[in-house]
């Protein structure tokens, strides 16, 4: 579909690899610039009673801090900058992707898988630096010995599929949502061009698009939230293994 196509803006080839500056790169630059501008500008005139922009910045900060505190405990807060960056990047690219004629960065599996790979690498590195080789106890739950023959492979498989499920969830949600919007927009165009009573009926899918757009706004936030909280949960396992914090 046209809206998911990469279009090179500045063609660039290095050592036979295509590293062109595409519309996706442009949107990623815009997303990062928007986040980097939003936080300092919102916090530039600090007041005890916050203005609207200031409270937006404060709410996003406290939201992520509470999420880490409840899901990964006190020592998870060391990872606040990492999780805040991931949350804001996914949130802004989901929302900016909903703007007509823009491009959804997170609808590309390459982007979401890179994010998921960074998350899982962090989890593994954290686990091994904190517990050493004892991190492998993560795969051995408390259970009778006979059951362990069954449970250990399951735990290993579930750990190995995490980067896939983490990336595919975000990518497929964005892809499905935008495809659905396009299909309903196609209904409007087809009905509107049919003439007579059918043209008047084209208002019905039009209202549906508005409703789906509201749903997509919810999904855009929800997926950023789910991505961040799953990161917290995985980090919690790396920090505390099976014990509760």
């Amino acid at each position: 579909m046209e809206q998911f196509e990469l279009k090179p803006i500045v063609p660039l080839h290095v050592f036979g690899y295509d590293v062109s500056f595409t519309n996706q790169s442009l949107l990623m630059v815009i997303v990062v610039a928007a986040i980097c501008l939003f936080l300092p500008i919102a916090m530039s005139r600090r007041r005890l009673v916050p203005s609207r922009a200031q409270s937006m910045a404060e709410v996003s900060y406290e939201f992520v801090a509470n999420m880490i505190n409840s899901a990964a405990g006190e020592d998870g807060l060391a990872f606040f900058p990492f999780i805040f960056t991931i949350f804001m990047f996914v949130l802004f690219s989901n929302f900016l992707g909903l703007v007509p004629w823009s491009f959804t960065v997170t609808s590309q599996i390459a982007v979401t898988f890179a994010l998921a790979a960074v998350v899982i690498t962090t989890v593994v590195v954290t686990g091994f630096t904190k517990h050493g080789i004892g991190f492998l106890r993560l795969f051995v739950p408390k259970a009778p010995l006979l059951l362990l023959f069954l449970l250990v492979p399951i735990e290993i498989i579930s750990f190995l599929t995490r980067p896939i499920s983490l990336s595919v969830r975000l990518f497929a949600n964005m892809l499905a949502g935008h495809t659905m919007l396009q299909v309903f927009a196609g209904f409007v165009v087809a009905l509107g061009g049919a003439g007579g009573i059918l043209s008047a009926l084209s208002i019905a899918p039009m209202f549906l698009i508005v409703a789906i757009m509201a749903l997509e706004l919810l999904v855009a936030f929800l997926q950023a939230y789910v991505f961040a909280i799953l990161t917290c949960i995985y980090l919690n396992e790396a920090l505390h293994l099976h014990d509760h914090h």
């Binding site: 409840s70 595919v168 499905a176 909280i229």
Partner: protein, 74 residues
């Protein structure tokens, strides 16, 4: 020609994954509502688990979509 037709049928069959996702999402929200009506005081504390369960459920349905796309475009 037959290969193209078989691909279309396969992609359609992959959408059966949505049955499970529908049942799962309905179960998540239904169970949350029945629990929340019995004990409204605890309802607010469980919204994180609710959204998490919803997202995990929805993802399984979307894996079907991914398989359909793989069948269609490879």
């Amino acid at each position: 020609m037959e290969l193209a037709a078989a691909k279309m049928i396969g992609a359609g069959l992959a959408c059966i994954a949505l049955v499970g996702a529908g049942i799962g999402i309905g179960n998540v929200f239904g169970s949350y509502l029945s629990g929340a009506l019995r004990n409204p005081g605890a309802a607010a504390t469980q919204t994180t688990n609710l959204l998490l369960g919803f997202a995990l459920c929805e993802a399984t349905g979307l894996f079907g979509l991914v398989i359909a796309l793989i069948i269609l475009f490879t």
